[in-house]
């Protein structure tokens, strides 16, 4: 069974978690063109590598960030959003 470390609940089975996609900065909706906004809505960084991702621990309702290599499936670290330096 695969495991993932939740910053609030410790190490739990991967089946308790939901993948939320890569962490991305939202462009300013007022300032961006339709084309820029469409690119933000649809396009993704699909290439493999080390990524900052949103993950969700279902039973406790915790959203957090995981730094994960999508080629090797290694998780480097997980932390609550905004607590990157503390982790």
């Amino acid at each position: 069974m695969k495991l993932l470390h939740c910053p609030m609940n410790g190490t739990r089975p991967i089946s308790e978690f939901v993948f939320g996609g890569e962490f991305r900065d939202m462009p300013d909706p007022e300032a961006s063109t339709d084309k820029e906004w469409a690119a933000y809505v649809h396009n993704r960084n699909g290439a493999p590598g080390l990524k900052k991702e949103w993950w969700y621990h279902g039973p406790s309702g915790t959203w957090f960030i995981a730094e994960r290599n999508t080629l090797t499936e290694e998780v480097l670290r997980t932390y609550l959003f905004g607590q990157e330096t503390a982790a």
Binding site: M1, K2, S15, V18, F19, G21, D34, K35, A38, A39, V41, H42, N43, R44, N45, G46, A47, P48, K51, E53, T70, L71, T72, E73
Partner: protein, 413 residues
């Protein structure tokens, strides 16, 4: 060819016939370079030569031909999609498939079985009725059937699914078929090679040379090749190739797993799919049950398979067929599915001149092999995509004109 067979039997040596030339080194330049020696890339090479007379073509394959998703799918061919554009496109593919063994002079074991998409809920029944009406409108033989007709076609099926998820009905699709998937790649490879296209295995593309917005050549592990036209047909490797030309796409990679049982006497004629139980199953001409499920739930660029998958899938298989409890799973594997947000492919031209994309084939690519090869060949030859694949263009995302196939493309959502 009984006489040829007789001569072969009496001959002292029995060399395995080569399907395509074993070429050492690519030429310095080609009219078209195709990245990816799977079914789609090889079919494009075949139709470039056959339909358009373009034979100065190289197909570059990183591994061996048909070793990617072409050889990893569950071989189902069908056209019972949700959008009229999708139904039309996949129907054209089914029609080519029906005569393909003859055309390629290779037995693809194309076997017409009939395809049932089982509905366990009223909302699933609604989707089945929707698909049936769209299919009929386009002229494809699909209809909604009740439990009686399902039981008649497959008496072994437990219609109550162990009491968990009683079957209310199904979408029956008469043309649903299975085929030998590696044969499709090998048949197209031989056909392309005979007409002059050159196939290079173990040849990795490491970069694409773009000069002032136009393709100028490709860097490969066997040196530089000059070309003005490049087709990328690399499924799960698409984001790596589009990165070489700085092209953004919505594609993300999730593994899709499958497995087979030990061979049995033929008992399952139909192809059965259950969206609620996340199962699709057919019995191959070799007697194995070929089974697949939904996508792995998060992005991974790997073809590893997992015990979680096989446990989940087999427990649902036992809901449908309790008598299989002593049957063994003999192989499992995974492919890298290039998923799009609307579950439709991305085909045609791109903002980079001379860079053509055949991608976003996610979990639905094998059935489209002939028609995608044909339409991509036409796109490359004319530098213009045919009307048939207009709804699959990359720019549909910036136009907010998505082609929603989610209800018909896969299971588990």
């Amino acid at each position: 060819m009984p006489l040829r067979l007789l001569k072969f039997a009496f001959s002292k040596n029995h060399p395995a016939p080569r399907f395509f030339r074993a070429l050492e080194q690519p030429k310095k330049s080609y009219d078209v370079v195709i990245i990816g020696g799977g079914g789609h890339g090889l079919a494009a090479a075949y139709y470039l030569a056959k339909d358009h007379g373009i034979t100065n073509v190289a197909v570059l394959e990183r591994g061996y031909i048909g070793g990617g998703n072409t050889g990893r799918n569950t071989t189902i061919v069908r056209s019972n999609y949700l959008t009229p554009e999708g139904v039309n496109f996949y129907d054209a593919s089914v029609k080519i498939y029906e005569g393909l063994s003859e055309e390629l002079d290779l037995n693809l074991f194309y076997s017409n079985r009939g395809h049932f998409t089982l509905a366990h809920t009223e909302s699933a029944m609604r989707t089945m009725r929707w698909r049936a009406e769209v299919n009929k409108h386009v002229g494809v033989e699909s209809r909604v059937v009740g439990p009686d007709e399902i039981a008649k076609a497959c008496p072994q099926l437990d219609l109550s699914c162990s009491g968990h998820a009683p079957i209310l009905g199904a979408l029956y699709h008469a043309p649903g078929s299975i085929a030998r998937h590696d044969g499709v790649a090998w048949g197209y490879a031989r056909g392309a090679d005979r007409q002059g296209a050159e196939i290079f295995q173990n040849t990795e593309v490491t970069g694409i040379d773009v000069q002032s917005g136009k393709v100028a050549g490709v860097h490969t592990s066997r040196g530089y090749i000059a070309t003005k036209k490049v087709l990328s047909a690399v499924a799960g490797f698409t984001p790596r190739v589009t990165k070489m030309v700085d092209l953004d796409t919505p594609i993300v990679i999730h593994p899709l797993q499958a497995c087979v049982t030990e061979p049995m006497k033929p008992w399952l004629n139909s192809i059965l799919v259950s969206g609620s139980l996340h199962v699709y199953v057919s019995q191959s001409s070799r007697g194995e049950l070929v089974m697949g499920s939904s996508l792995d739930p998060y992005e991974v660029h790997s073809t590893r398979s997992s015990l979680d998958f096989v446990e989940g899938l087999t427990s649902h298989m036992l809901d449908m067929f309790p008598f299989l409890s002593n049957v063994k799973i003999v192989r499992q594997w995974a492919g890298m599915a290039d998923m799009t947000p609307d579950f439709a492919p991305i085909m045609g031209k791109t903002p980079v001149e001379g860079f053509y994309l055949d991608a976003g084939w996610g979990t639905w690519g094998f059935k489209a092999t002939p028609i995608s090869g044909k339409t991509m060949a036409e796109t490359i030859a004319n530098d213009r995509a045919p009307e048939m694949i207009h709804s699959f263009r990359l720019s549909r995302f910036e136009d907010y004109e998505l082609t929603g196939e989610k209800g018909a493309a896969s299971v588990g959502h």
